[in-house]
Symmetry: C2
């Protein structure tokens, strides 16, 4: 049996076909042009395979309330061509298979959750943060996505400011110094005038950012007590992960127990940004009666 | 059919017997003495009624992992007499009925959730904060309590400090200036040298506290998108609620949609601190095959 995955992003649509063991059979990407062009290419691509269902992890904002008239639309996206686009409806009409649609970060979250369990980790709950151009998060609690009226937007929480970072106003157009405004990729340019890739780990800005990320992970820990927290996205790296874990342990101060820190706060199990594709396959499979 | 409720607190055990419409048939409280004394009185009380199940909302910390050898114990409580007490086991042996045990704040959370739905509110998710001697929270997400490895401890999250409150170190013995350390009842004495009841609403400390509580509610909103947030506990009052709502709207800055603010951030529907009793009845009823 074959299922499809679309990782729908602002710059490209990554399409993949997989079997029911999550092996990638074929994949191809298409540059994100106008919806009418890109979605036609995507539909034509999947028509080459006999997929039984499709999982989509998409940029947004998405309307995900099943009972809403605009269920499955990309709504107020800053990508103007894609505003008010019936992503679900167009793909459903074009491919005529069951579709599981969720946010980009939820796709990655589910991929990491499924793979963690397949590799023998006994977890029922997992949080995934992506720290890149923006900051987003997804949460699985007892096997289900969190979020009643919408998906979580945990990138925009407030955190306690670092004493050596009080003057920085933050980059979030909505909130200034929310988490995203303090640790996303563009903050490197705003703080230091250069790109993050060029900032050495010895620069104290990494410690400041680790302090903020650690606070967000403490919020998540205290609220959900997840079995594991996965950190992905372009800003993450091994040295930064170390600093985050150190700050987390210090700030939590043993208040609640967590799994051993090296198993608890980790980078993705699935390499090469592949978490969302695996997640999409798994979510598509939930739509197929087996 | 009758069910029982115990609201087990550090100063008293409030016991009640209710019918399956949540009407209180009888109630009595017992001062919290040593476990052997208090639990015997509680058992003797309930033996006067033919209860079919019991709901308990208890102080803690509690061991609530069902597969744990010490499931149902009060564990490392600061109340030394109650440390390592098999609350669940003793009551189960004494009363021989099914028991639903949860935290004090979870009991209140469930009571508010059930009553909101019974009065016609179409919500599946609800967050409840108690702001009193301590700060705690419970969350129902799609009808289920949140928390895999334990119950939420959202009273201890970090928040962005108010510019006019930077010097206050906070009162939390674990974290200093976490939420509880900044807004719980004892912070009035620590900041102003007098009890909260005597501090007029015109004192700016209420605005500072509202700023912190509002941030916690934003965290909850962004993480869970609950249908409603209920604020209970001894520190709450109508004027404080107003300030919290104002700060919440200002800080969220329209980033995500919520229900109308006056329906979204509210004080308990169930009066006279009765939320936990109703919640216990409802949780007890889940243990009875109807």
């Amino acid at each position: 049996m074959l299922v499809g995955s679309i990782e729908a992003g602002g710059t490209k649509f990554v399409c993949a076909v997989g079997d029911d063991n999550y092996n990638i059979v074929d994949s191809k990407y298409f540059i994100t042009e106008k919806p009418s062009i890109t979605l036609k290419k995507v539909i034509d691509y999947f028509k080459n395979f006999k997929i039984e269902a499709l999982g989509i992890a998409s940029f947004g904002p998405l309307e995900l309330r099943q009972d809403h008239a605009k269920y499955g639309y990309i709504t107020t996206s800053p990508k103007l061509d894609w505003r008010d686009t019936d992503l679900y409806g167009i793909l459903k009409a074009g491919l005529e298979v069951p579709i599981y649609l969720t946010t980009d970060v939820n796709g990655s979250t589910y991929g990491e959750y499924i793979m963690s369990r397949m590799t023998g980790e006994k977890i029922n709950s997992l949080a995934y943060y992506t720290i890149g151009t923006g900051v987003g998060a997804g949460i699985i609690n007892n096997g289900q996505f969190i979020g009643d009226l919408g998906h979580p937007e945990m990138g925009h929480v407030n955190v306690k400011r670092h004493p050596k970072d009080m003057a920085f106003a933050g980059t979030c157009p909505y909130h200034g110094d929310c988490l995203e405004g303090l640790v996303s990729g563009p903050t490197f340019e705003a703080r230091l005038g250069k790109r993050g890739e060029t900032v050495p780990q010895t620069n104290f800005v990494w410690d400041i950012m680790a302090y903020y990320v650690a606070q967000a992970l403490i919020q998540t820990t205290l609220m959900f007590r997840p079995g594991k927290i996965v950190l992905g996205g372009g800003v993450m790296n091994g040295e930064f992960l170390k600093k985050i874990k150190q700050q987390f342990v210090k700030l939590l101060n043993g208040y609640v127990s967590t799994p051993a820190i090296d198993n608890y706060i980790v980078m993705p199990l699935i390499k090469h940004n592949g978490s969302a594709t695996i997640g999409d396959f798994a979510l598509a499979l939930t739509k197929v009666a087996i």
